[in-house]
């Protein structure tokens, strides 16, 4: 499969097979791709029915560079022992590896290791805040504010918290362009009952990039606490939790080139100190007697039991890899590729993209519907060309309701994607429309 570099003519892949596609105005303006790292990802060497793997589902989970796979294997094969317990040399190595991973992860986001908690995933990180902070800070008559564009992980924990505590859950509305309204945020905060505002940094359906720093400043001025879901943001743009000003910032390793089973919660020191623990048991205690226990210091107070040690090491390697690429460059790559994707999607008759129209206003994904083709069929037709996209409600059923659809198809880009992946998708969609005689 020939590689595209800048504006060139390239053979169309997929059901059309072999015919040269002539360069269009869209090609001429297709910006050079900022990254060329496909070769770093072993899985992308796989062929499906003789076709290269065109993976456009990084919003769901990312593929892993060889260095991450090797780091996991090396840890398990050379430095494996339990942490925080052993005196022997091997245990010291495991300890050092785990804490080095924490330090790498923390500094990747400009955070402090002391307030960087490892969890299983971002869903657990949000649940941690809902249980440990929510249940001691939200009560009858209080309100929790979220948005219509949230992933279920940033909806359901708050629904339950509010039901249990007699509080109200309110939603910031999303407009036609997929944006929130600062005026509505101010109006909600002015009601004086909001204790927490939880919202996403980048929407996994709309691609909207929310103005986090501006929002957290307003939230803090109103005396409320902010929690930001950074699952889609961290893999694709520079994130500095200090500059963003969120009291809690949660993300997950498996979307950021790391393994599954490792999530991260960055929290405000004072809030974390004041919170009771979430999960309890070993490691999060300082001492236990027959009557009760005292808690360990941060961050261990929130890390009960044996942590995902190898997974943390894997994530440490992942953030080092991303640091090597440079997150500014990653953002440029994904933005340019998304601009290319939007431009090419516009060629498909009856196709409607939801969310912000400009690539510069969105993260590296595009959710869309095609008239006459249900998203599930769209994904099936794409699969035939070796193109992986997602179809469904993307764990955002309330948002689907707002959009007036049951489901959408979604293509999302990662550092390893190239214009050929987008081309293969478009070819598959056009071929699919023919199959359905549209």
């Amino acid at each position: 499969m020939s590689r595209v570099a800048g504006a060139t003519v390239q053979p169309a892949a997929g059901a059309g097979g072999g015919a040269l596609r002539s360069a269009t105005a869209a090609d001429a303006s297709a910006a050079p791709i900022a990254l060329d790292v496909r070769a770093d990802f072993p899985i992308l060497e796989r062929a499906f029915d003789g076709r290269p793997l065109r993976y456009l589902d990084s919003a769901s989970t990312s593929q892993k560079p060889r260095v991450v796979i090797d780091a996991l294997a090396e840890h398990l094969g050379t430095h494996n022992a339990n942490v925080h317990r052993g005196v022997y040399a091997l245990a010291q190595e495991a300890d050092a590896a785990y804490e080095q991973a924490r330090q790498r992860v923390a500094s990747f986001l400009g955070a402090d290791a002391r307030t960087t908690v490892f969890t299983k995933n971002v869903t657990e990180a949000i649940n941690l805040v809902a249980y440990a902070w929510g249940r001691t800070n939200v009560g009858a008559g209080d309100a929790v504010l979220i948005t219509q564009m949230e992933h279920h992980a940033n909806i359901v924990p708050w629904q339950l918290l509010c039901k249990e505590r007699g509080a109200t859950l309110r939603y910031l509305e999303v407009d036609e362009a997929g944006q929130l309204s600062p005026a509505q945020l101010d109006a909600e905060l002015a009601r004086g009952d909001v204790r927490l505002v939880a919202f996403t940094h980048v929407s996994n359906v709309l691609g909207t990039i929310n103005p986090v720093a501006e929002m957290t400043a307003r939230i803090r001025a109103a005396g409320a606490v902010s929690l930001v879901d950074g699952a889609q943001a961290v893999p694709q743009m520079p994130v500095d939790v200090g500059a963003l000003g969120a009291d809690f910032y949660a993300w997950t390793g498996h979307k950021a080139l790391g393994p599954t089973g490792i999530g991260v919660l960055h929290g405000d020191r004072e809030l974390l100190d004041a919170m009771p623990p979430f999960l309890t048991g070993g490691d999060m205690i300082a001492s236990v007697d027959f009557e009760g226990a005292t808690w360990n210091e941060l961050p261990y107070k929130f890390e009960a039991g044996t942590p995902p040690i190898a997974e943390a090491v894997g994530l440490g390697a992942a953030v080092e890899y991303l640091r090597g690429l440079g997150m500014d460059r990653v953002r440029t790559h994904e933005r340019e590729l998304t601009a290319y994707l939007l431009g090419r999607l516009a060629e498909v008759p009856g196709l409607r993209v939801v969310g912000p129209p400009l690539a510069s206003d969105r993260g590296g994904l595009a959710s869309f519907t095609i008239e006459g083709l249900h998203p599930h069929d769209v994904a099936e037709l794409a699969d035939r060309a070796g193109v992986c996209i997602r179809a469904g409600h993307h764990c955002a059923q309330p948002l689907m309701r707002c959009l007036g659809v049951a489901a959408t198809a979604r293509a999302s880009v990662g550092v390893y994607n190239e214009t050929a992946d987008v081309d293969a998708l478009i070819d598959a969609l056009q071929a699919g429309r023919k199959v359905f005689e549209l």
Partner: protein, 126 residues
Amino acid sequence: MDDLYRDYILDHYKRPRNFGELEPHDLEGEEHNPLCGDELGVHIRVQDGRIADLRFHGHGCAISQASASIASEELMGMELAEVERLGADWMIDLLGIPVSATRRKCALLNLKVVRGAVTGDHDWPA
């Protein structure tokens, strides 16, 4: 010829048989396939222990809608006792196309909603 989207499948998808509402009706059901956003409802009129008339309604992928349309022609006039005995194999055989594990739920949605309406059992298939 396409493996999955054969002419008759697409025909049933674009021109579904026995789709709409049925008033009055004796039995009704609603099911969703949350994974992909397929929804299907059914209205059934019963006479002498048989399905005297039925209508499906809803939106979904080509497989879920075509399966409902194809099944509707067989279900028309069927004894309720026989409906209760219908299994997944019946539907898959009726479709006559290879259905992957992921699309199975789409193909079986219509039978799930009909069984739910007739037996009150919403946990099928187990």
